[in-house]
């Protein structure tokens, strides 16, 4: 449907895009006992870390190989080795997830080769999983880094299933990075109510849901366990959420024979009907009454809310899967997506219900949102929303100027219902009171004019 364009500017203004390595790092943050390590200058890590701290309002374990200018030129073997050894000694992680950056990719460091050498030199580190993913800053975007890291984890960690090990209730879930810890919690709840045992890879709802640990740990606390990942081959099925997870789902199927189903979104009535039907089929259980009730509540919310959504013009800036998800849902409520800006290429983009999808920045979004009724993007849209003087719904990472970003739920019947209420309330709060001149389109007679202007 949509024409996909790429901005033809030399200067990106007010970036919407974030870089691949930190997308990869976030995926590793969803693993238990993990330490993400960016192979680059220390600033690469520092910026990502601060970004996540501001969004999640949590301590973020993330390290750097601290490449200096000289080390960059000579190659980073020594730095990667030192970093792995230091992290092993200081943080005692179960897994170190290594992402390359622009600096080390430009130099062409062979990190896979480094890791082989490190393995040979340090048998004492054998108990620590080392997963490397190539994520140059100058390619793709955050979402791509996340997808690649999950794919690499599947390839590096999942073991081929042993015969007869199938776990009849286990289901793998591969969530895209557009889902919040709150979303994962909601999905876990739904699947458990079908009697299934979901295993999320990665699982930010375990590590970045804002819980209070008993003890301080320098690594992630909570998240997918390594044992869980290794045993993914024994599940009865895989559910991938978001087009970005197709690659990882296929890898998993190829490795283990576990079949996957891909849900390109879980916001809206129809996709959740499909999810319910799928879960019912997989589990052999009827849809629990709880969700029959929730569906009815969502339908009611759509009825109550459609008055305020109908005909509204909406400008959205989001990564492809989030854009697809929210644009579809708002269009299904009667609104029109009049401006859509995203960060990277994806097969979903041409299906986005808009005339055009632009791979661009927030300057592009702002200029296309001049007559929009609502702006939807991450917190970086706050300056644009102020200048445009229109309501602003914060969605996506980073959300640094509001509380509870990790707990925003927009999946499932209930999440969709909440999204409709939240955005509907923004429209309700932005109604304009009519005046006697609101509908005047013809000039009043001259003597009337005197009266109207206060009778001078």
């Amino acid at each position: 449907m949509a024409k996909v364009l790429t901005a033809k500017k030399a200067c990106t203004v007010n970036p919407l895009k974030m870089s691949q390595p930190i997308g990869g790092a976030l995926a590793f943050l969803g693993i238990q006992g993990s330490m993400p390590l960016l192979h680059g200058s220390q600033g690469c890590t520092s910026f990502g870390l601060v970004l996540f701290v501001r969004h999640f309002r949590e301590a973020i374990p993330m390290q750097t190989t601290a490449m200096s200018e000289v080390a960059t030129v000579l190659g980073g073997m020594e730095n990667v080795e030192k970093a792995v050894v230091n992290i092993a000694n200081r943080a005692r992680p179960e897994i170190i997830g290594i992402c390359s950056t622009g600096v080390t990719e430009t130099k062409g460091d062979d990190v896979e080769g480094f890791l082989k050498l490190i393995r040979a030199r340090h048998p004492e580190l054998n108990h620590i999983a080392l997963v490397y993913v190539s994520t140059p800053d100058f390619q793709g975007a955050f979402q791509d880094g996340w997808a690649k890291a999950v794919d690499r984890m599947v390839e590096a960690l999942v073991e081929p299933p042993s015969v007869g090990a199938q776990r009849t209730r286990r289901i793998n879930v591969l969530p895209g990075c557009h889902l919040t810890p709150g979303d994962l919690e909601e999905l876990r709840d739904i699947m458990e109510n079908f009697g299934l045992e979901p295993l999320f890879l990665p699982d930010l709802s375990g590590s970045l849901d804002g819980h209070i640990p008993e003890e301080f740990t320098p690594t992630t606390l909570g998240g997918t366990s390594l044992a869980g990942i290794r045993g993914m081959g024994s599940a009865l099925g895989t559910i991938a959420i978001g087009e970005q997870m197709r690659g990882a789902a296929i890898s998993l199927e190829n490795r283990t024979g576990v079949p996957y189903a891909l849900f390109d979104r879980l916001t809206g009535l129809a996709p959740n009907d499909e999810l319910m039907a799928h879960l019912s089929r997989v589990s052999g259980m009827p849809v629990p009454s709880k969700y029959r009730r929730q569906r009815s509540q969502l339908v009611d919310a759509m009825l109550d809310g459609h008055f305020y959504f109908g005909g509204k013009k909406i400008a959205i800036g989001a990564e492809p899967d989030l854009l697809w998800s929210v644009a579809s849902c708002l269009t299904e409520m009667g609104s029109h997506v009049t401006a859509a800006v995203t960060t990277t290429a994806s097969p979903v983009l041409e299906r986005v219900p808009a005339a055009e999808v632009l791979i661009g920045d927030l300057e592009d979004l702002e200029s296309r949102a001049a007559d929009a009724d609502l702006l939807v993007t991450n917190s970086h849209g706050r300056q644009a929303a102020e200048r445009l003087d229109i309501p602003f719904y914060r969605l996506g990472l980073p959300t640094f100027d509001r509380l509870g970003a990790a707990h925003l739920v927009t999946v499932g019947y209930r999440g969709t219902r909440n999204l409709i209420f939240d955005i509907g309330n923004l429209f309700l709060g932005d109604t304009h009171e009519p005046s006697p001149d609101t509908w005047r389109h013809v000039e009043p007679a001259p003597d009337q004019l005197v009266q109207l202007s206060g009778g001078v």
Binding site: V13, L51, K82, I212
Partner: protein, 472 residues
């Protein structure tokens, strides 16, 4: 192609830095920053430091030449305030891709500068070098020169790619960019005997505005602040100031010293944090101005203002004393903030249970000893695990630190206050000191602490709590 390493050597060899004097030649060459430990490093890079130092110049476009990470992951994150222009909050980057890496990014950069000039027409464009274009040999100085000639406005190269070192080094390289390309390039419309520069003040949360009214009251004009709430032309004309105050330890000492050398502008180092430090800073400014020919009576007026303001501050702080007496503060912050805040907090009866001296100079440490006594608990590095333990065991009542360690305190269910650059409150001057104490008081006495430390009903010890609540 220009070589930043000579520049870095010269920055490390800072004669104005007392700490540097005490070093042997060889040690001095190694620079003042510790070698970074892979896998155990924290903190920003040199690019980060340069951006922090210059971004507060509000009316220029700050263009980052690099892949999306450098600007895309970090923009709109700093709390430096502006009294007018907002262009400094717009994120500009060349967002280079593989084609640039193969063919070079210089044309792309030039084109980006052109777009900015056409669309935003700022008084100047600052171009920040980053690691990847530095590696492939993009010469930003040549591009900036060409663009400046073509567009008829200053295009300033800031040669501080992340991998040359730490944030602190980046601060200094940013200073070098101003010295080489901006300061002294324009003349002010008029000068007065009361013109000063403030160096190393970034107007975070508007802190400059907690100080400026006092200077206004004395008739002292801030010719330029480097760089909080600054305008490009102010910085360009700053060489005509009569005197300068250098804030924030050694971050921009190179600017202060070189402006003294080149333009005979005397400077002193001062702090706006704490009642007595603020007063000393006002005295210092007045003294230097009088020395440079301002009427003697300025000193008298300054003393009168100080007396009035101190009395007012103490009067406003008085109610907090009984509430804060004996409460223990753990300070975890860099550089100058440690000793100036230490004395300030002691003024209201708080006890300092420990302070970090990681980024402090020998001189700083000496001052901490003078203020806190010999038993001062100073630590170079406090690993998060230790910090958590210390707080959990309640060896402090509140921690004051930066955002990085915020959650160590909060997860230990201990009060915490942000005193770093991302903070949302302004703590400078007499007003700021009252605000800081007010915030500490608010935090310490918030009713949540008692609630969040209560065991859950299913935990040991919960029964007693439940019974007690019932009885009450």
């Amino acid at each position: 192609m220009s070589n930043p390493s000579n520049k870095i050597q010269s920055v490390f060899n800072e004669p104005g830095c007392n700490r540097n004097h005490g070093k042997a030649e060889k040690e001095r060459k190694k620079g003042c920053t510790k070698q970074l430990q892979p896998g155990a490093a924290a903190g920003g890079c040199a690019f980060d430091g340069a951006k922090i130092a210059l971004q507060p110049i509000t009316d220029v476009a700050h263009l980052v030449h690099g892949p999306i990470a450098c600007e895309g992951n970090s923009w709109d994150g700093r709390g430096s305030k502006s009294s007018g222009p907002l262009l400094y909050r717009t994120g500009f980057t060349t967002d280079i891709d593989e084609r640039d890496i193969v063919f070079g990014g210089e044309k792309h950069l030039y084109q980006a500068i052109k777009e900015i000039v056409e669309k935003y027409n700022p008084p100047a464009v600052f171009v920040y070098q980053t690691c990847v274009p530095a590696m492939i040999g993009d010469d930003i100085e040549v591009v900036c020169r060409a663009a400046a000639r073509k567009f008829g406005k200053p295009v300033i190269p800031v040669n501080s790619p992340g991998f040359v070192g730490s944030k602190n080094l980046g601060n200094k390289l940013a200073g070098e960019a101003l010295l080489d390309h901006v300061i002294g390039t324009e003349e002010p419309e008029y000068t007065t005997p009361y013109d000063i520069n403030i160096i190393g003040e970034y107007n975070l949360s508007g802190e400059l505005w907690q100080v400026k009214p006092l200077l206004d009251a004395l008739g002292i004009r801030i010719l330029a602040c480097l760089s909080g709430d600054a305008r490009y032309h102010e910085v360009a004309r700053s060489h005509r100031a009569r005197a300068a105050m250098m804030v924030c330890s050694k971050a921009m000492i190179n600017i202060a010293r070189k402006m003294e050398e080149r333009y005979a502008i005397p400077f002193f180092e001062g702090s706006f944090y704490g009642v007595s430090d603020m007063s000393e800073s006002l005295r210092g400014i007045a003294k230097l101005l009088v020395m440079r020919g301002a009427p003697e009576e300025l000193a008298g007026r300054t003393e009168a203002l100080i007396a009035r303001e101190e009395a007012r501050a103490w009067e406003r702080l008085e109610p907090y004393k009984p509430r804060l007496r004996g409460k223990r503060v753990l300070l975890y912050t860099g550089g100058v903030k440690s000793w100036s805040v230490v004395s300030a907090l002691q003024e209201v009866g708080l006890e300092i249970s420990g302070t970090s001296v990681k980024k402090s100079t020998q001189e700083d440490k000496q001052r901490i000893k003078e203020i806190m006594g010999d038993d001062a608990h100073m630590f170079d590095d406090l690993p998060p695990r230790e910090m958590y333990k210390l707080l959990k065991e309640a060896r402090a009542d509140i921690m004051l630190s930066g955002g990085r360690t915020q959650f160590v305190a909060l997860k230990a269910k201990m009060p915490w206050l942000d005193i770093n650059q991302e903070r949302h409150h302004a703590y400078a001057g007499y007003e700021g000191m009252v605000d800081l104490v007010h915030e500490i008081d608010q935090s310490l006495h918030n009713p949540i602490w008692e609630q969040v430390r209560r065991p859950a009903p299913w935990e040991a010890g919960a029964e007693d709590t439940a019974r007690m609540t019932q009885a009450a």
